[in-house]
Amino acid sequence: MKYLILAYGSQRDYDAMAGRPTDGGPSWTPQDFEAMGTYMEKLNNDLAESGELVETRGLTAPVHARRLRQQDGAMVVTDGPYAEAEEVLAGYWVVECDSYDRATEIATRLFHVPGPVGAGADVVIDIRPVAESRHEL
């Protein structure tokens, strides 16, 4: 069974991770960022070794997002459509595992990502079972 694990972040979180000043938020040092990278690599390696990792990707900063919609029949593009503090998709994992509980267990590891004090305090992770066919929709 496949599950999609979703992690969120705001533009402000991305700014903080890149070491840019944010008002009131935690400030990341390059060492903090490295430690996070090492932790994520370990997580991904573990999942690859257990054969549960299908795919994982991190997304670039929300400021690079493009939103496409229709207005009076014409296509309109909005660049960087999100508000600064808006939580948007920041990365995902597709895992293939035996049960929903195992997928949930994997997702809990995302709460132990190292970072500066205050980072990750309000982290939310979503887990979504992937439909195996349209009949499951």
Partner: protein
């Protein structure tokens, strides 16, 4: 940009194209690339990175994010979506950039300035100095040009119209600016460099070959063109030993090869090959009293 200037200028259009292909935002990406070039000029003397292009793309991408952050705080960027008429293969990136810089709604002076900066990798200060205008004037000119390109909503791709003649005209104007006065040699060198780049991208185009030949043949006579006091020396009186024989040989080869491919005296085009045919006559001496030019010392 001393030291690594050649490398940086060669990489400029590649890095800018990589950014615009990946993220869009031609106007802001261009600023980001300039800042990356500046960072490279400061940091590379201590050691050039293993992969200079990747280094520049990484630094420019970070700067693009920063610039977009401050930009998006000011305004919401919304525009109509125009699909590209043709998706250009990435091998044509420098050409796509040249087409963007030579957008038909830009004035020739804006096309020139934008081309020199976005494709040539010259700084605004360098361009201002070459055109003998204050830097602030050039900053505004380039800023407005980028706004125009952005407002036109053009996607990163080959335009539907054949803009190569406009590009060649802009390169010709750049060359002429450099040729017009002493101390502005860098513009002729830059025009020749860009013409060579276009020729690499369009090796079979007779007009491109003709323009490059015209530039080489004209520039080859530069050392003999003025006397010790800066006075003009007539062609017949020029000391031909001062001419650059290598450039003349290359120019003649280019035009000769182009002639075999395309009849040169077409009325609709003929922008490059016809004048270079005249330049060949000059360079080979058929208008002067001296014998056919055979190189210095002969």
């Amino acid at each position: 940009m001393t030291g690594h200037g050649d490398l940086l200028r060669e990489l400029t259009p590649q890095v800018l194209a990589a950014l615009v292909r990946r993220y869009g935002h031609f106007d802001i990406a261009e600023d980001a690339v300039q800042e990356a070039l500046l960072a490279a000029a400061q940091q590379w003397p201590a050691g050039v990175p293993d992969d200079p292009k990747a280094w520049l793309i990484t630094v420019a991408s970070r700067r693009l994010t920063d610039l977009l952050r401050s930009e998006s705080a000011r305004q919401r960027r919304e525009s109509a979506w125009l699909p590209p008429s043709q998706h250009a293969p990435s091998t044509d990136d420098s050409l796509v950039l040249l087409f963007l810089c030579c957008h038909p709604s830009l004035s020739p002076s804006s096309q020139i300035a934008l081309t020199l900066r976005a494709v040539g990798g010259l700084t605004t200060a360098e361009i201002a100095r070459a055109f003998l205008v204050p830097e602030a004037t050039m900053t505004r000119r380039i800023g407005r040009a980028k706004q125009t390109v952005k407002a036109s909503g053009v996607p990163f791709g080959l335009p539907a119209d054949d803009r190569l003649p406009v590009v060649l005209h802009v390169l010709y104007l750049i060359f002429n600016e450099g040729y017009a006065g002493p101390g502005r040699v860098e513009l002729t060198a830059e025009a020749i460099r860009l013409a060579r780049m276009v020729r690499r991208l369009r090796p079979d185009d007779a007009e491109v070959a003709g323009l490059l030949a015209l530039m080489l043949l004209t520039d080859a006579r530069r050392p003999a063109r003025t006397g010790p006091y800066g006075e003009l020396v007539a062609m017949a009186d020029q000391d031909r030993n001062l001419w650059h024989a290598k450039d003349i040989a290359e120019g003649i080869d280019l035009v000769t090869a182009a002639w075999t491919r395309e009849f040169p005296f077409q009325e609709t085009r003929g922008y490059g090959t016809r004048p270079s045919a005249a330049a060949i006559c000059h360079a080979s001496g058929c208008q002067g009293p001296a014998a056919r030019y055979q190189g210095p010392g002969t």
